[in-house]
Amino acid sequence: MRRSVFFALVFVVVFSAQTLFFYRGVYIPQAREPPQVLDISIYPSQFSEYVDRHGSGEGKVLFDSSHRNDFSPGELNVLVSRILARGFSVEYLRDSEKLGENLTDADAFVVISPAREYSKEEAEEVKKFVDGGGRLLLGSDPERDSEINTLTGGFGILFWDDFLYNLKYNDGNFKYIYLTDFADSKLTRNLSKIVFYSSGSIYGNGIVFTDNNTYSSTKGIPGRYSPVVLSHDSRVLGLGDITFLTEPYNVLDNNIFISNIADFLTNTSFLKEDLITKVNVTGNATESIV
């Protein structure tokens, strides 16, 4: 009996010693479940029916296409259709040497992302046009080649070499920023929320501002930046985004803003007795009601 106890004791001690030599305890798993993902749903804003209430007039809006402008005409179809609805014609400038000649009978001039620089003489022609009462729209965004600043200096406007982003509140991507802060202007009339898709900030008299959660890529800090400016004489409009003009990105109040821009270019405004063009969900004009 004593021997078997001794045997058992030695066995237990040796076995335990070995165990303790290698093992100091037991791993207790810390249960970690995979994250819940089924509730993730991010859908960008959709187009909703829009009624374009506009005035009418006649005249010509000239679009620059002579400085290797980085846009396709199709991108501006919504804006062009609004201009046409206001009774104005649209022409494209193909030859920069005929800039002055073409501006003489134009009411407004639109310059989108010129990849080729404006010469000093050309910039002076445009300045002369604006001083004579013409309207000028300057547009560019950070995803397009642009030498727009070769034209802007004379108007107190400068496009910064940055892009704006908001990681907190956006329309499905950090660079799709909401804009809800508007200065009082005909251009911001009836706007409560617009969305820009790829915008840079602009130096000048801001009329649309980001919220304080929006960053400028070059400054790296959040702040109140302006991607839309209007010169003090209200004749030169600077837009830091082009995409919002394009289908299917004319969502939220972008459509109202596009109409306001068309009003600006044509110097018309909606009066009660004027035309109302209903725009269906595809953005096409469907009927005009007197």
Binding site: A8, Q18, F21, F22, L167
Partner: protein, 280 residues
């Protein structure tokens, strides 16, 4: 009783106790080896991007091997990866979560644990990095599908048959993939994370020391420190080391592929693109 007889009896008794002692020891040692194995820590080296099924399958096979082998009580993932394709990364991540329900898993970010390379690290119990290792880059990169068009030469049964989605909605889809990535990191790092979701989504790359400050890394150390860490979690000492890659004869090889606008089907990547561009 005579003295001589007493001495003989005592001698026999002593002999029999010595014999019993030796016998008990031998049986205890042999039984220990049979019943309780000598523990080891398995090392899995992931030093590649994870762009192909071959690489993904190799990694998953190694994780399963480490999970099934009785002597492997803890696992070290030695990571030097810029990430890879989303669904492959997710599969590895989920396999690691399964493994750590059985055994502790410790990630050691040797050079880079970026994007998907960090995603899989996040599934580990602990993350080690060297002071100048690169970690983070949490986000997704993708290529937009072609704009929806119809084609005279090709018959399709729906407007998105060839593109999958409109460009606009595809961006939202990529954002959902990013959100899943963020949640994967946040759910595993928990309270250790000292950076908010908004800043994490900037997809910045951090040095190991910065990573530790913001909670993307638990400890500064080398692979041998990670081995110690895995052993501590597994509660083992005097352990051996099993080179799982060698054991399974697996060398991860993947060739850099640049994001190409010619890709016919858009694919999402959890990967650090500049890494590839630097190789051009």
């Amino acid at each position: 009783m005579e003295l001589g007889s007493i001495q003989r009896s005592a001698g026999r008794l002593a002999e029999s106790y010595v014999f019993l002692f030796i016998l008990a020891m031998i049986i205890a040692i042999v039984l220990f080896r049979v019943l309780v194995v000598v523990p080891s820590v398995g090392v899995i080296i992931i030093d590649s991007d994870i762009m192909t099924d071959k690489v993904k399958d190799d990694i998953v096979d190694m994780l399963r091997y480490a999970g099934e082998e009785k002597d492997i009580k803890g696992v070290v993932l030695s990571i030097n990866s810029p990430g890879g394709e989303v669904s492959r990364i997710e599969e590895i991540y989920l396999e690691i979560l399964k493994l750590r329900n059985k055994k502790p898993v410790v990630a050691s970010i040797d050079g880079i644990g970026l994007s998907g390379g960090y995603y899989i690290s996040a599934a580990a119990n602990l993350i080690y990095a060297k002071p100048s290792s690169q970690v983070g880059n949490i986000g997704v990169v993708s290529v937009l599908p072609e704009p929806v068009r119809i084609d005279r030469e090709r018959v399709t049964t729906g407007p998105y048959k060839t593109t999958g989605r409109s460009q606009k909605y595809y961006v939202g889809e990529v954002e959902m993939v990013k959100e899943a990535f963020l949640r994967a990191v946040i759910s595993q790092r928990g309270d250790r994370l000292k950076i908010d979701k908004e800043n994490l989504s900037k997809a910045e790359i951090y040095l190991g020391i910065e990573g530790m400050r913001i909670g993307l890394v638990d400890r500064i150390g080398t692979r041998s420190d990670a081995l110690e860490g895995a052993a501590d979690l597994a509660r083992i000492a005097n352990y051996g080391i099993v080179d799982v890659n060698k054991k399974m004869n697996i060398t991860l090889h993947s060739f850099p592929q640049l994001l190409s606008s010619n890709e016919s089907t858009p694919v999402n990547y959890y990967r650090y693109v500049e890494f590839y561009e630097g190789l051009d």
